[in-house]
Symmetry: C2
């Protein structure tokens, strides 16, 4: 990954900026959804959508009629941001409350994806959410491929921001009686809920029953 551009250099809390390719990839891979920002009629609009990373390319998908994705297809600049919350930072002072988190911001002009790359991207999006799933579903037929718009955004301008560790209170506040520390958070799955129309005799597959997201918390 190139050095951060002026725009993706973290402006605030520079010590939290992390530019290593591995960190950017890991955060993008763990986040279930991204938030896609475009300019619509002169104003910013942010909507959640599902993404997948393949190498140094980020894919997002949606319906061809989606206003968000049409704007991206037209070659306008977009912003894709993902955020993972690893814990609540509980400080002695209200001011120093924070969160432990990992976030990535990707800027760039997307291109519309077609052909074999499009089929592979749709497969990657299913695998991104549930690893192991794509081999156990009916693959998209040509009409479904046509009925989905896929955009590709290179990870040329991408940066990560990470906070870890305990609260950082003012020195004098350590004498206070308030508890301080970190409450770690994570996303967990409950029991799988079979479709009411599931045919008898189909067991829950391991890629569903053992689904878990990696977490650094």
């Amino acid at each position: 990954m190139p050095a951060p551009s002026e725009r993706t250099t973290v402006k605030r809390r520079r010590e939290r900026g992390v530019y290593e390719r591995e960190v950017v990839h890991a955060v993008l891979d763990e986040a279930l959804v991204c938030h896609l920002g475009v300019i619509a009629d002169g104003n910013p609009v942010v909507l959640p959508t599902i993404h997948a990373r393949v190498g140094d390319v980020l894919y997002v998908h949606g319906a061809p009629a989606s206003r968000m994705l049409r704007l991206g297809r037209d070659g306008d600049e977009i912003c894709v941001t993902v955020t993972l919350i690893d814990g609540l930072v509980v400080a002695r002072s209200a001011f120093h409350h924070s969160m432990n988190y990992r976030s990535v911001v990707v800027l760039g002009r997307p291109r519309e994806v077609t052909g074999d790359e499009k089929v592979a991207a749709l497969d990657a999006i299913v695998e991104h959410v549930i690893p192991g799933r794509s081999a156990h579903t009916r693959a998209p037929d040509p009409g479904e491929v046509t009925g989905t718009l896929v955009l590709a955004l290179p990870l040329d301008e991408a940066s990560a921001k990470v906070r870890t560790g305990p609260p950082v209170d003012d020195e004098a506040d350590h004498d206070l009686d308030h508890w301080a520390g970190v409450l770690p958070l994570r996303v967990v799955a409950g029991d799988p809920e079979p479709d009411p129309r599931l045919r008898p005799g189909i067991a829950v597959p391991a890629h569903v029953s053992e689904w878990a997201r990696p977490s650094s918390s």
Copy 2:
């Protein structure tokens, strides 16, 4: 809440649009972070930040030097989006995979908050993340209040989008042998990790040890 404006009317999947005030409030209150979209140098930028709702006003806060918030303070239009993931929708076809989610989009021109409202907003932001916490911390001193920028965005243009329920597969796909259903997801807390510098004899308070987020999943 007024009827949705043309801009906040859900364009795609209209059946998922939910405009009731109670739903918008509940989603904003449950989401730990929001994604704030602004236009910077002509391009969209999306960054995560912490918010709080008080009545029909949404507050966001940050450092006064924050580029994001300065842009909002200047009276430009911003977009605040929150998303809760309630479950993975596992379909028989790749095409019908989805997520159960609740999201809210708020559009508008924020105003900078000052005086007593600013102090109350900072308190609300602490309470938003950890209900019951603000009474057990050192309150912000005047320098800390000055050292934080708070913006208020009215919930005049806000809409929710919700997906619930099992997968909706094509009729013919119900004969396939693939498992289908929903894998519910939720955010849970692990064991509180005391600050290494915590004074001896300070127990974990109930607002930390019993922290939980409401969830409709």
